[in-house]
């Protein structure tokens, strides 16, 4: 039975079981590959998307539970917070292998939307669930601070 998902502002028909995780519907069914598979157990954050603006682990979100909620992936990210985060990420060259960075950015946008001026502790607390095996963490902290100041400007 087809399920309609609202992703990045468009309706997408997905002909898949209700218990299929949103991650695989986005990636394998709809072919949007910016959202990554990292662990499948909500332990690494690589699959982070926004569901009605809330950072959510797509690998543990059955498509049957999404309903009409607005799903945003890295491909659909926009707005001043996203621009501040992505430009800070680029200017500080946060990335190494880059595989986790879609998820890191989705979480960072969630953090700065909720708390525009986080300190290191707030960053660590919020970003704890996003693993980076390259350990780009010092730059992630710095880029979030940088994005925060760009949002003020």
């Amino acid at each position: 039975m087809a399920i309609t998902l609202n992703i990045n502002g468009s309706a997408h028909e997905v002909d898949a079981p209700e218990d299929m995780p949103l991650l695989w519907a986005i990636r394998d069914v709809l072919g949007m590959t910016g959202t990554k598979f990292g662990c499948g157990v909500a332990s690494c954050g690589a699959c982070t998307v926004h569901v009605d603006g809330e950072p959510t682990r797509a690998c543990q979100t059955p498509i049957g539970s999404v309903g009409e909620a607005a799903v945003t992936t890295i491909e659909g990210l926009s707005g001043p917070v996203a621009e501040a985060v992505q430009s800070a990420w680029q200017d500080l060259d946060v990335v190494q292998c880059g595989y986790c960075q879609s998820g890191q950015i989705m979480s960072a946008v969630g953090l700065l939307t909720e708390n525009p001026k986080p300190d290191d502790q707030a960053i660590d607390d919020y970003m704890w669930g996003n693993v980076c095996r390259c350990a780009t963490y010092t730059r992630i902290r710095a880029a979030i601070h940088e994005a925060s100041s760009r949002m003020e400007a």
Binding site: T33, G40, C44, W89, Q90, C97, G98, V131, A135, T138
Partner: protein, 715 residues
């Protein structure tokens, strides 16, 4: 992996290889001409008709920054525009794209910049020289009057873009590359130029193998033996085939493959599969059994790896001695992108899409398994979501599995074989387990006089195609590196090795032998310094008097960290210095201890890797290597119960998280020496520096990794 050097000049015939097109030349002497094809002056540079300069990368990009580094070398000598220069991964072509320090096309051993530094600079200079000479001839001016900047040639009032000038290059023109003097560099050594992969990787548009979905792709997962060395007896796929989306189930020599219309369906099918295994030749021991065997082996004789003076006699007569026994677990690499590749076998050809690290081996292995031969096997290299060594091995295991899956399906469709994180954590090719005993003796005057290291581990290279080159009299140099080749001057030095056997597959893991030897050496060195009653930095300075470059990084790290200065109550400071891959790194760690709980506060690193091509990439690599090393040292391990891996995924193979990451400062020694590597050398000193800081703070020597297994609690 400095296996062998086969320096190959690319310039021979390079110009002839290019498709220099001279189309619609305008005879008026202005430097504007029409052109209709790409200009390929050599295998490393291409200029497209629209003037876009593209660098062909013989090394893959796993995050280590080579796509930026190699591009820097060509852009520098070519005076190309950094903003617009593009990157492209090279095809599998061993002769053309050989790693001259490895003798194959591949990346590893922190060699990418070291082996490319002159080759890529020469390629850039050669391309530029052809453009300059052609433009001079076209403009009727002396080539010496032509200057180049950001992709534009100038002579007097005349200017031409590279896209224009390339049309004037005549087929067969011979390049005349003249390398810049380092004083002329505008990119090499610049503190920070933007990474070439940053934009794609921050917008979700970078393509990893996981993102390759060719028309008709079939997704697959493989059920492998739960014990290393087990084989399939039989399987029942009735329930698996009933799962919606499962399209087929096949047995291959590596395991049972479940195919689906998407990854999730295939995974659901696998979970419904029942397989009976034959464990006759499988590993069935537990970690405790293996450890007992390692310890028994250490009590017996070892194979000599180094024997200077008479360590036994010197230990017997030493004023003071220390003894230490270090334990290191198996470790999985666990790159962020779970292993996967896409393979299509059709019409006598095999196409592989892969974050390919070892092109020569993969092309050969896939060619053989697919039956089409290496010459009919093409590899499209895409971004690799990390590796840390895992993607390069002599079997090309995961690419071969994908090939077997495609072959078994047998209908010409592309098959993407995806490893789950559980497959990855349990999949072997681990950093081998090690037990390393050290005895050291100091004289009454406090000088280190004797050192005896006894190491028990499984060899990485024995039985591989490179075994003959690096295993000498039974000693795999990668089992003893970092100790047997120590730079410390120790009059009586013995290193010996016991080769342990297990069906568990082992592999190089970021910094290879140094990942454990550096720890044993540097923690035991602190113990020796204490026995000698000397400061840990001053003690090492004496022993490194003959190694000025290593001594300099030690001094720089100590100075930048404020060694000897005050610290808050409950804090401790520790030092470690280690050379690996010809790069010297010293680190000073600071930890705090609150109610017995340790927090790693700060690491100050100093590195000497010769010419620093991209200082910001170098800093990033050192930051990352420290983080990678510390996460494993703190709490990661692979253990076995009755031959089965106890861990399965990140919740029980818990990686370093942002809250664990200390502040890190990286200082780079200014140097004109030939560049060496930086992907790995930042790792070995990190954990021992922290261990020595923990000792300074709380008086506890950490002898067993991960540290949590030795009673250390982290914040």
């Amino acid at each position: 992996m400095n296996i062998r050097t086969t320096r190959r000049g690319f310039l021979t015939g390079a110009a002839a290889a290019g498709a220099a097109l001279v189309v619609g030349l305008k005879p008026n002497g202005s430097w504007a001409a029409a052109h209709g094809g790409a200009f390929v002056p050599n295998p490393f540079v291409r200029i497209d008709p629209d003037g876009t300069v593209t660098v062909i990368l013989k090394h893959f990009e796993m995050g280590q920054g080579t796509s930026t580094g190699l591009t820097t070398l060509i852009a520098e000598e070519m005076d190309a525009d950094w903003e617009t220069i593009q990157i492209e991964f090279a095809p599998a072509d061993t002769v053309t794209y050989m790693n001259t320090l490895m003798g194959v096309q591949g990346s590893g051993g922190s060699t990418a910049i070291a082996n490319s530094f002159m080759q890529y600079r020469e390629a850039g200079a050669a391309a530029k020289s052809l453009l300059v000479m052609a433009a001079a001839e076209e403009g009727g001016v002396d080539a010496g009057t032509v200057t180049a900047e950001k992709g534009t040639l100038s002579s007097g009032d005349n200017t031409a873009s590279y896209g224009e000038a390339m049309a004037w290059v005549k087929e067969g023109a011979t390049p005349n590359p003249v390398l810049k003097d380092p004083s002329q560099f505008t990119l090499i050594g610049t503190d920070h130029i933007p990474r070439k992969d940053s934009v794609a990787k921050t917008t979700g548009t970078a393509t990893f193998a996981m993102d390759v979905m060719p028309e008709g792709v079939v997704y697959a997962v493989m059920q492998r033996s739960p014990k290393f060395g087990g084989t399939v007896v039989s399987f029942d796929d009735t329930a698996a085939r009933a799962v919606p989306g499962v399209v087929d189930v096949k047995q291959t020599p590596m395991g049972v493959v479940v195919y689906g219309t998407n990854t999730w369906a295939a995974e659901q099918g696998r979970q419904a599969l029942t397989v009976e295994w034959d464990f006759t030749n499988a590993e069935t021991r537990s970690t405790s059994d293996m450890e007992a065997e390692y310890l028994a082996a250490l009590d017996g004789e070892g194979l000599p790896a180094r024997n200077d003076g008479d360590a036994a006699a010197a230990l017997a007569s030493a004023a003071k001695t220390i003894e230490a026994e270090f334990h290191f677990p198996f470790l999985a690499h666990a790159p962020m992108e779970p292993l996967n590749s896409v393979v299509q076998i059709a019409d006598g050809k095999c196409q592989v899409w892969d974050g390919c690290q070892f092109h020569t081996v993969t092309q050969g292995a896939v060619g053989a398994v697919s039956g089409v031969g290496a010459e009919n096997t093409s590899i499209e290299t895409v971004y690799a979501g990390g590796s840390f060594g895992r993607r390069a091995n002599f079997n090309s295991d995961y690419e071969v599995e994908a090939t077997m899956a495609a072959l078994a399906l047998g209908d010409g469709r592309p098959v993407k074989l995806v490893w789950s994180r559980e497959d990855d954590v349990r999949g072997g090719y681990y950093r081998p387990m090690v037990v390393h005993r050290v005895k050291a003796g100091v004289t009454a005057e406090g000088n280190l006089d004797a050192w005896h290291s006894s190491i028990a581990t499984k060899s990485i290279f024995t039985g591989t195609p490179m075994g003959d080159a690096v295993v000498v009299n039974g000693v795999d140099v990668f089992s003893v590196e970092g100790v047997a080749d120590t730079e410390y001057t120790i009059p009586n030095l013995a290193v010996d090795l016991r080769n342990m056997e297990t069906p568990v597959s082992v592999l190089w893991w970021r910094s290879v032998g140094h990942s454990h030897s550096g720890y044993a050496m540097e923690v035991a060195m602190d113990m020796a310094a204490e026995a000698a009653g000397r400061d840990p930095v001053e003690f090492r300075q004496t022993l490194l008097a003959n190694e000025p470059r290593t001594l300099a990084v030690l001094n720089m790290a100590a100075e930048k960290a404020g060694w000897g200065g005050d610290l808050p109550d409950g804090w401790g400071r520790g030092v470690a210095v280690h050379k690996s891959f010809n790069t010297r790194v010293a680190q000073v760690a600071e930890v705090s201890v609150t109610d017995g709980v340790v927090k790693i506060e700060r690491i100050v690193a100093a590195v000497d890797l010769g010419v620093a091509v991209n200082p910001d990439v170098i800093r990033a690599q050192v930051e990352g290597a420290i983080g990678y090393g510390l996460g494993h040292a703190m709490r990661q391990k692979i253990t076995f119960t009755d031959g089965e891996v106890d861990q399965s995924n990140f919740p029980d193979y818990e990686p370093l998280r942002i809250s664990d990451m200390p502040k890190i400062e990286v200082h780079i020694v200014q140097s004109a020496e030939a560049p060496t590597g930086i992907g790995e050398p930042g790792l070995p000193p990190a954990a021992p520096a922290v261990a020595n800081a923990i000792y300074a703070a709380m008086g506890k020597r950490v002898m067993r990794l991960p540290m949590v297994d030795d009673g250390i609690e982290f914040a």
